[in-house]
């Protein structure tokens, strides 16, 4: 990869933010799902991201900068969230105490994640566009002579 390496970085960023968005959407969709006592309930998920930074012996060029910047890598893990308990003995999923367990999804937090992820996704799209625009202009060098 050469001058195109910078596109990979933005693409990876988009992947991560898209994953964040999808995960938040999934959590929100399952907010009000309960499970019968004894069966596994939905566990809220969260995205953990880290930058994978390769080690270098020496620098070669811009593509190394792109890679050294760390391609963001994301994994989906289960969040450590206590279930939301609603007392409703009439519910078919109520346990012996009449409690129904719902996933511990924080609605506000998930909505905030959606907004942030969307904004960050768009920023990555902007970065991709800027890189493409710069490359186009570089190709026009000398085009007037």
């Amino acid at each position: 990869m050469d001058y195109r390496a910078v596109f990979n970085v933005s693409a990876a960023g988009m992947d991560v933010e898209k994953l964040r968005l999808d995960t938040a959407a999934l959590n929100l969709a399952n907010m009000d799902t309960s499970a019968a006592p004894g069966t596994a309930p939905f566990k809220p998920l969260r995205v953990v991201s880290q930058a994978v930074v390769p080690s270098f012996q020496h620098w070669m060029g811009v593509e190394d900068l792109a890679r050294a910047g760390g391609l963001p890598h994301a994994a989906v893990v289960e969040a450590d969230a206590a279930p939301r308990i609603v007392h409703d003995p009439a519910d078919p999923h109520a346990d012996a105490n009449g409690d129904v367990r719902y996933p511990g999804v924080n609605h506000t937090a998930e909505m905030l994640t959606v907004m942030t992820a969307l904004r960050a996704y768009e920023a990555n799209v902007a970065a991709l566009g800027a890189a493409k625009s710069m490359a186009s202009h570089a190709l026009e060098i000398g085009g007037q002579s």
Binding site: D2, Y3, D64, A138, L139, G142, S145
Partner: protein, 101 residues
């Protein structure tokens, strides 16, 4: 603070252009034939550099597009210059030949 210094392309036409510049400044009063010879050599180097840039681009090794484009433009202008000089020389020769003795 960690500082990473990314080198620019180590070998390019710029170094030779510096030589061309020096030679061009020395041309008046100097040996024209030697100067023109040097120009053709510099042209050769620049065209080879441009071709290498294109090869690197095709092979996916071009570090930057602007570097390739600049090398090509430099080669193009150097070639243009050589052609112009040749044309003028030819014109001058023909004009001399047309003179009535």
């Amino acid at each position: 603070m960690n500082d990473f210094i990314l080198p620019t392309a180590p070998i390019d036409a710029t170094g030779d252009a510096a030589g061309v510049q020096a030679q061009a400044a020395a041309a008046p009063g100097g040996n024209f034939a030697a100067w023109f010879d040097h120009q053709l050599g510099a042209l050769d180097t620049q065209m080879a550099s441009a071709e290498k840039g294109v090869q690197q681009l095709a092979a996916g090794d071009a570090a930057s597009l602007h570097d390739v484009m600049i090398r090509m433009e430099e080669a193009k202008l150097a070639f243009h210059l050589a052609v112009q000089v040749r044309s003028r020389l030819l014109d001058a020769y023909q004009e001399v030949m047309r003179m009535q003795v």
